[in-house]
């Protein structure tokens, strides 16, 4: 099955919209109220909204962040006395009505039913009951009452603990496939602790299995907040894979939806995505690679933003447009390449990409360029891919 490429919008989401329009790096966007106020979402063109997925981001009902205050459906806006579970259940129908009204009025691609984020691994019955009571039942009742025919997607936030527990995910699958009217899942996972690239083969394999089970149950699967592991996850037949610019749209962490007492703004280093390595490297490494044996532009990619960044006079920072637009182009190129093939062929293509990244890191090592343990994620990816392929009978 082929898949679509969506941009997970966040800070400076205009860059994504431009990139899709100018460089054809995606098929649509996932809109984030955390980063875009309601009037600014409403102002988006119909052609964008028609293909867009609106992420209601009601994962933490206790908090309404700045841009989110402009929407009228957040529990924190509706419950002025502060969050209280009993009150939340009482007002959940009002929350559902307003959230659905907004989504329908803007004619987004799907109607997304939001659910809450739970840390760790609460008992699965409790997890399901809470989600049903606080979100799914009020949303489905409202949809029924209004007689809406829009395709519905259920959002799910799952932690690493949940994903890795087969019994837990089996229960979730039973529950999901039993919800009437749901045609897919918008899945967001949080692995904690984690490095920028996932170094946990068990987690990756479990996520591949879960995604593939959804596919086998004829459910659409949208995998949100992905880093370059999207390449690996493509072998599990997801419907939509995401790409994003800054780290917080490529790696989900629930703390993004909490109000922090200290506004610690970390200025990220300028990094460039290196498609051969399927990872980002600090810019000074790119400078020495250029000086040494890595003359081939294909190693870094091939686009006008890269040309600008490789110019010796380039003085950009992580907040410049070039590293992000370069990433969109190169990542989407890799994803488009693998979506032309399916199943075993896609698996083989993905393995080739991972093996080639391993060789790339070895080349760096041979050239005396010490990037630390940067490539350490690759064996985990390969292990997960091979174990998944074995179960599929693809031969490894």
């Amino acid at each position: 099955m082929t898949f679509e490429i969506y941009h997970q919008l966040g800070h400076r989401d205009v860059w994504s919209l431009q990139s899709i329009d100018e460089d054809q790096t995606g098929d649509g966007v996932i809109i984030s109220p955390r980063s875009r106020s309601m009037p600014r979402v409403e102002k988006l063109g119909d052609s964008i909204k028609r293909k867009a997925i609106f992420d209601p981001q009601i994962l933490n009902p206790k908090v309404v962040l700045k841009n989110m205050e402009s929407y009228d459906f957040y529990p924190g806006c509706i419950l002025p006395a502060g969050f209280d579970t009993d009150e939340y259940i009482v007002d959940s129908t009002l929350i559902a009505e307003r959230c659905i009204d907004f989504q329908v009025r803007n004619n987004f691609r799907f109607l997304v039913i939001p659910t809450r984020f739970y840390q760790g691994m609460p008992p699965v019955d409790e997890f399901i009951e809470n989600q049903n009571q606080q979100s799914i039942t009020p949303f489905l009742s409202t949809v029924k009452k209004l007689g809406l025919k829009k395709e519905m997607i259920l959002q799910l936030f799952l932690t690493g603990h949940m994903i890795k527990n087969k019994e837990y995910t089996d229960n979730l699958l039973n529950w999901i496939t039993g919800i009437e009217g749901i045609s897919g899942i918008y899945l967001v996972t949080e692995l904690h602790p984690r490095q920028k690239q996932i170094r946990d083969a068990e987690f990756l394999l479990s996520l591949l299995n879960f995604t593939n089970s959804l596919y086998k149950n004829k459910m659409k699967t949208i995998l949100g907040y992905l880093n370059s592991e999207s390449l690996l996850l493509s072998i599990a037949n997801p419907s939509i894979l995401t790409i994003g610019s800054y780290g917080n749209v490529r790696i989900f962490h629930h703390s993004m939806f909490e109000i922090s007492e200290k506004d610690l703004i970390q200025i990220p280093n300028l990094q460039i995505y290196v498609p051969t390595l399927i990872d980002w490297l600090d810019y000074p490494y790119i400078e020495i690679m250029k000086r040494k044996t890595f003359k081939s532009p294909i190693f870094f990619g091939d686009n006008k933003y890269l040309t600008k960044m490789l110019n010796p006079g380039y003085r950009g920072t992580a907040h410049n447009i070039e590293p992000h637009k370069h990433y969109y182009i190169e990542m989407s190129k890799q994803l488009r390449q693998i979506r032309t093939v399916e199943n075993q062929n896609r698996y083989q293509e993905v393995c080739k990409i991972i093996e080639s990244a391993k060789q790339g890191f070895s080349q760096l090592d041979e050239a005396g360029i010490d990037v630390g343990d940067k490539g350490a994620f690759l064996p985990h990816w390969l292990t997960a891919a091979k174990q998944f392929a074995e179960v599929q009978g693809w031969g490894v």
Binding site: Y283, P284, E287, I288, R315, E366, G368, D370, G372
Partner: protein, 137 residues
């Protein structure tokens, strides 16, 4: 360890010029060297960075390699009692042109690999470092 290195005549002799500037914990470039020694030779600034680690040569090598983005030479300096694992991987130091020193209990410095002079591999950071640090000499 850093204080011992600072007073070592061996380290000072590596940049055998006057005036000379010794700075520790230099931030804002590519990693934070424990020590940087800067001097002027033939009108041109020469900068040497040091990463001091009791053990864990691998981590130290990674850090020291980063400093080469903005200095001319970079050394790992270890406790002489713990330098053997690094010596077994001396070829890595040679390949990366990162220096390896060790310091013993009496404060004597032993050189295991002396790197050759290179221009900083990041012209951008090298220029920034020269502007900001060498102007203070």
């Amino acid at each position: 360890m850093v204080e011992t290195i600072k007073t070592s005549t061996y380290i000072q002799d590596l940049v055998n010029t006057e005036p000379q500037l010794i700075r520790d914990e230099v931030k804002g470039y590519f990693g934070v060297p424990d020590l940087v020694v800067v001097g002027i030779e033939n009108g041109k600034p020469i900068a040497i960075a040091f990463e001091a680690k009791l053990s864990n040569w691998r981590r130290a090598h990674f850090q020291a390699f980063r400093y080469k983005a903005f200095v001319n030479k970079s050394y790992v300096i270890m406790d002489d009692d713990f330098v053997n694992p690094a010596l077994l991987q001396k070829d890595r130091f040679e390949k990366s042109n990162v220096g390896l020193l060790s310091i013993d209990h009496s404060g004597d410095v032993h050189c295991h690999y002396d790197p050759y002079f290179e221009t900083p591999y990041s012209p951008r950071l090298g220029a920034k470092f020269n502007d900001q640090i060498t102007n203070t000499i």
